[in-house]
């Protein structure tokens, strides 16, 4: 197996690990960002063909990489960006109300 796919898997699992293990809200959002990046990287990797050119056909090319995953990757980037914006707004709101970013303390304060 090639190294890039291994990197994708490690990044995916690292992000998942961060989301379920970390106590800091901002770190959780960082984890979300990393998982998302890994999935986008996976999309770009499956579009790539060795020796292919970018899918901009200003003249005839022999081998062109797959355009569909790249379009899906664009969609995924935009959706991910707006999700992270909403998450961070909620993080700020939670900090203003509870005065902490630690998940355990928030749970404690809530009783």
């Amino acid at each position: 197996m090639e190294l890039p796919y291994v990197v994708v898997i490690i990044l995916f699992c690292l992000g998942i690990y961060t989301i379920i293990m970390n106590k800091n809200l901002i770190k959780i959002v960082v984890g979300v960002n990393i998982v998302e990046s890994s999935l986008i990287l996976l999309l770009i990797l499956i579009s790539f063909k060795l020796g292919g050119t970018a899918p901009i056909l200003d003249r005839k090319y022999e081998l062109v990489v797959d355009p569909i995953p790249q379009a899906l990757a664009l969609t995924a980037i935009v959706i991910g960006g707006s999700f992270i914006a909403v998450m961070l707004a909620l993080v700020i709101k939670i900090y203003k109300r509870y005065g902490t970013l630690n998940v355990d303390e928030i749970r404690k304060l809530r009783g």
Binding site: F12, I16, I19, L39, L43, I46, V86, L90, R97
Partner: protein
Amino acid sequence: MESAVWIILLPLLTAFFLGIFKLYSDKLFYSLVIVSMVIYLYLLILVINDSYPPKVYSIGDWGLLGINLMVDSFSAMFLLIIAILFITVIIFSLNYIKVNKHKFIILTYVMIAGIAGMVLTADLFNLYVFLEVSSMSSYALTAIKKTDKSIESSFKYLIMSTFGSFFILLATILTYYLTGTLNMAEISLEFKSVPFMIKSTIMFFFIFGYGIKIGLVPLHAWMPDSYEASPIPYNVLSSGLVMKSAIYALIRLLYVIFGVEFLTESGILNIGVFWGVLTFIIAHTLAYQQSNLNRLLGYSSIAQIGYITIGLFLGNEKGLIGGSFHILNHGIMKGTLFLVLGIFYYSLKADEIEDIQGLGYKFPVLSFTFVVAALAIVGLPPFNGFVSKWLIIEAAIEAGFFYAAFFILVGTFLSLTYYLKVIIKLYTKTEKKTLIEKPDLSLKLPTFFLGSLCILFGIVPSLPLSLINNIPKFLLNNSEYIRILLGG
């Protein structure tokens, strides 16, 4: 089939126009809400009537190169739920919502568009996009009260649901990698040559991802919190449409892409039935301990999802009919309960069990509606919940799952205990309470409408069943669905 695409476009267009009108004129805003609602109802009826045999609408006229929408009986039943719940909720919330009313209505329209998109699309990535549209508006509606609890539960919901989305996206990417296409029919044909192990892995990712959105038991943690914190009209839509659209998408994927033979072979049907039993037993037990009525109804929703899961995972005709009918019925029954609760909250700020003591004498008709819906959800004749539960039990016996049939009866008794607790409290005499605000007709009318549907569908179940009976034709035998989608 031009009207199929309008089912998605009209709410979107309405939401965008409302976003502009809210800046300038209140009068224009509300008239647009009403007008578009009426047109939407007409469109939905048009499409539902025309749903058999299934129709395909190709966006951009690209055929198999682009995105296709498909209306079959399963999606038509969902459109029926949208028609019933959406109208009642919009009328109800015009008077009920006090804070951020404009935003509430706009986001509700966006959410309906997302759900309609999920229901109609026959493209894997398009399904993911519309799933995110409906989820994003769900998070917003959960946080709309801006209290501590609602912000926190919205964050919890957002994180858990995004976690699920990752697995759905991963499975979608892997599917594209294996098959080179995103059209469900073509995927299904290509999947025949994919090895068993890889197919079951992709299926596991789909089930895990959608399981979080549905709220099956170990993955349900976000749900009661979000019910407690969000406005009640949203709870109606959440229990009736948001959760259900996730289970719709899962069932559509499993039966169409993987096919029922693979499901039997891989044993996922047994796991699904077992998971459903586990879900409703635990959820009923947890519901009994709640003192907040919203949380109680939330756990009850999870339990009902358990029944639906059993019905849909039995893999026979009767199970699919019963499960689908229960989706419709649960939307109506839970809607009634939440709307009555909403009126109590509106007039007395009552949302704990203690608070509603003696209200049975103050609001006799409303309380009667509550009792009807509660008995229906427990599953007593002659209400609609009984019919669908009975169908599920029959199907379970037919498929040889005797333990599931037995535990459904046990679950009925468990749910009877806590609903009786609430009903008894409702009719216990207490000293007079002062009303904060008198509920007017626009709040009561939708409630009575939903309550009467509970009785109507219980006495004349053939009315919706004539639509639902066609569902198994295209799910159990996916070749028919594939043939139509491929344009044969």
